[in-house]
C-alpha cells in the first residue's frame, strides 16, 4: 500500500517535472558560428548574424526572459559544429553548405530555417612573390584548403570549372587562420579561402589573389544557412521564431545600403580590417548575397551543393533538401515584420523574379 503511494507520487512528480521542462524556456541558447576572429577573438564578420552578434541583438531580445545567449566560435568550423550538434552541445548555428550537408547525411537531426548567404565568394591566394599566375599553375603545388567546409566544395568546383581536380594539386588541410600563417611563411604555395582574409593578406603584401569567385558565382558560389537542432526547434518553437525575427531584422539593417559603413565597422571587431571587408564586398549586391529569404535560388543552391558534394564523394548518403528546409519561421518573420517585399527573390537559375510575382517560400 505504502509502496503504491510512493510509486504514484513519484510518477506525478516526474510528470510534473517533465511537463514543466517542456513548457519552460531554456536558460541558455547555445549559438554556434564557424570560424573565429583573428587570434581567436569571439567576433566574426561577413554575415548579418555576425552583425547581430556584434550589436548584441539576440542578447537584448532575451534579456527580460533571463535567457542567456552563449556564443561559440568554432576555429575548426563546420566539422566541429557537426560534432557539437551530435553531442547535443549546440542548439543553433550558422553553417556552410558542405559541412551542413555532411552532418545531415551523417544522420544529424537538423533543420535549415533561414538563409544567411548565397553566392559566396572564394579566392585563391598565393604568396605575393610567387610565380603562380593562374589556376593551371597550381598543378602539383601544395595548396591549403579547409577540408569538410564550404571551402573544399568551392575549391573542387573551381578546379573542375578549370579542367582540374583536387588530385592535381597537393592539398593540405588547414583551418583559415593556420592557412593564412602558412601562406605568410610560404609553407604552402597557395590557399583557397573565403571572405575578407584574402584581401587583408593582399593589403598586407603577403598574398596575391590569382582567382576571385566574384565572376562566376553561379558555378562556384557557396551558400550558408541557419541550422537548428531538431529537438531544440520542436521544444522551443517560440524561441526559434524570436531568434529568426531578430536575425531577419538584422538582415534588413545589414542589407540597407545606407548602413554599409556601420556594418563593415561592426565586422571589423573580428580583427580583419574594415578595408578588407570593403574590398571583399566591392561590386557586390548586399541585398542579393545576404538575403535571409528562402527563395528558389536558395533551395536550388543547396540542391546543387548536395549534388556536387555527393559527386565529389564527400558524402555517401543522399540528403533531401526540400524536407530539410523548414521555411515557416522565415515566412512568419517576413510577414510579421512586414518585410515580404524587402528583398528581391531569385529563381532557381539565379535570375531575379518580378517583385509583383512574389512566390511564397
Amino acid at each position: 500500500m505504502k509502496n503504491r503511494i510512493i510509486k504514484i507520487a513519484t510518477l506525478a512528480l516526474a510528470t510534473a517535472a517533465l511537463g514543466g521542462a517542456y513548457a519552460e524556456n531554456p536558460k541558455v541558447i547555445r549559438f554556434g558560428y564557424p570560424g573565429t576572429g583573428t587570434g581567436g577573438r569571439p567576433y566574426v564578420g561577413g554575415s548579418f548574424v555576425a552583425y547581430a552578434r556584434a550589436a548584441g541583438l539576440l542578447e537584448q531580445e532575451f534579456k527580460n526572459d533571463g535567457i542567456k545567449v552563449d556564443w561559440t566560435f568554432f576555429k575548426l568550423a563546420g566539422p566541429a559544429i557537426n560534432e557539437a550538434f551530435a553531442n547535443k552541445l549546440l542548439d543553433i548555428s550558422l553553417l556552410g553548405d558542405q559541412a551542413a550537408i555532411a552532418g545531415k547525411a551523417g544522420g544529424l537531426n537538423t533543420k535549415i530555417i533561414l538563409a544567411t548567404g548565397v553566392r559566396g565568394v572564394t579566392y585563391v591566394v598565393v604568396p605575393s612573390d610567387s610565380p603562380i599566375q593562374s589556376l593551371q599553375d597550381l598543378k602539383g603545388k601544395r595548396v591549403a584548403l579547409f577540408r569538410g567546409t564550404a571551402i573544399q566544395l568551392a575549391a573542387n568546383r573551381i578546379l573542375e570549372a578549370n579542367g582540374l581536380s583536387e588530385k592535381d594539386i597537393r592539398s593540405v588541410n588547414m583551418d583559415g587562420l593556420a592557412a593564412q600563417a602558412a601562406l605568410a611563411s610560404k609553407d604552402i604555395d597557395a590557399l583557397f579561402t573565403i571572405g575578407s582574409g584574402a584581401l587583408q593578406q593582399q593589403d598586407q603584401g603577403i598574398g596575391r589573389i590569382i582567382y576571385s569567385g566574384k565572376q562566376d558565382d553561379r558555378v562556384t558560389g557557396y551558400a550558408s544557412g541557419l541550422v537548428v537542432d531538431g529537438d531544440f526547434e520542436k521544444n522551443n518553437p517560440q524561441i526559434v521564431q524570436r531568434i529568426v525575427n531578430v536575425l531577419v531584422k538584422a538582415a534588413q539593417w545589414s542589407t540597407d545600403d545606407k548602413n554599409r559603413e556601420a556594418l563593415l565597422q561592426s565586422w571589423a571587431k573580428s580583427g580583419t580590417s574594415y578595408s578588407a571587408f570593403k574590398r571583399d564586398l566591392e561590386g557586390q549586391d548586399l541585398q542579393a548575397i545576404l538575403s535571409p529569404v528562402i527563395d528558389d535560388y536558395f533551395r536550388a543552391t543547396w540542391k546543387k551543393a548536395v549534388f556536387d558534394v555527393k559527386r565529389f564523394k564527400f558524402i555517401r548518403n543522399d540528403v533531401n533538401v526540400d524536407e530539410w528546409i523548414e521555411p515557416k519561421y522565415a515566412r512568419n518573420a517576413l510577414h510579421s515584420l512586414n518585410l515580404e517585399n524587402n528583398w528581391v527573390r531569385y529563381a532557381a537559375d539565379g535570375k531575379p523574379l518580378q517583385v509583383t510575382a512574389v512566390q511564397e517560400p
Binding site: G148, Q152, R170, A182, K186, D187, F314
Partner: protein, 283 residues
Amino acid sequence: MSKPALSARGPAARGFAARPFATQRLAARRFAGRALSAMILPAALLLLWQIASTRGWTPRQILPPPKIVWASFLDLASSGELLTHIKASLLRVAISFLIGSGAGLVLGLGMGLSRRVEDLFGVAFHAVNQVPTLGWLPVMIVVVGLNDTLSYILIAQAVFVSVAINTQRGLRQTPERLVEVARVFRLTRAQLLRKVILPSAAPQIFTGLRFGLANGWVSLVVVELLISSEGLGYLMSWGRQAFQLDLVLVAILVVGVIGLAMDAGLARLEGLFSRWQTEKRFA
C-alpha cells in the same frame, strides 16, 4: 677415453629425454591459451561498442555501430581506396623506418661501445630526447616546411630515438660475468662483440626496433593528419572533417591491425636472430 656411465642414468638426463616433446605440446597449448586470452579484451571492447551504439550512449554519428564501420570497411576495401591509403602509409613508414633504425643502430652502437662517442653525443642526444618526438613538430614545420620530407624526418626520428637508446642500453647491459668468459678464452674485441655483446644485446635492440616501429607508426598518423592527402592518417583526418566517423574507425582498426602485424613480423625476425630467447619466452 672411456664412455662415462652417467650420461643415460642421471635423473637430469632422464628428465631431458622426455622434455622436447612435452615442451612442444605444452608450448602449443599455452600459445593457444594466450591467443585466446589476448582476444578477451578486444572482444569485450567490441561488445561494449555494440552496446554503446544500440543503447545510444554515444550519438551514432560520433561512434557509428560496428555494423556500419564494417560496411564502410568493405566499401573502402572493394573500391581499392583503402589499399591506396595503406600503400601510401606503408611506404612512408618503411622508408622512414629504414633511415631511422639505421641511424639509430649506428649511434646506439657507437654510444654503447665507445665512451668517447658517448661523451661526444650522449648529452645532446639525451637532451633532445627530453622532448617527445611530436613536440618537435612546430619547430620542424618552420625549419623543414610542410612537406613529405617533414613526414620522413618525424617518423624516422621516432624510430631513431627508440633504436639508439635501446641499442646503447642493450650493449651496456652485457653481463660482466660473460665478458669474463671471453677474457678467459682470450677473445679479440671483434669476437667479443660478435659472440657475446651483440647476442646479449639483441633482445633489447629488437625491443628498440619494435618500440621504434610503434612510435613511427604513431608519428605517421599524426604527420598524415597534417600534411598528407593519402594514407591512413589522412583517412582519419578526412573522416573527421567529412563527419564520417566510420571512416575514422576503419582507419583506426586498420592501423591497429597493421601495427600488430608488423610487430609480430619483427618478433619473428627477432626469433630468427635469437632462437634461444624466443623459445624460452614460449616455454
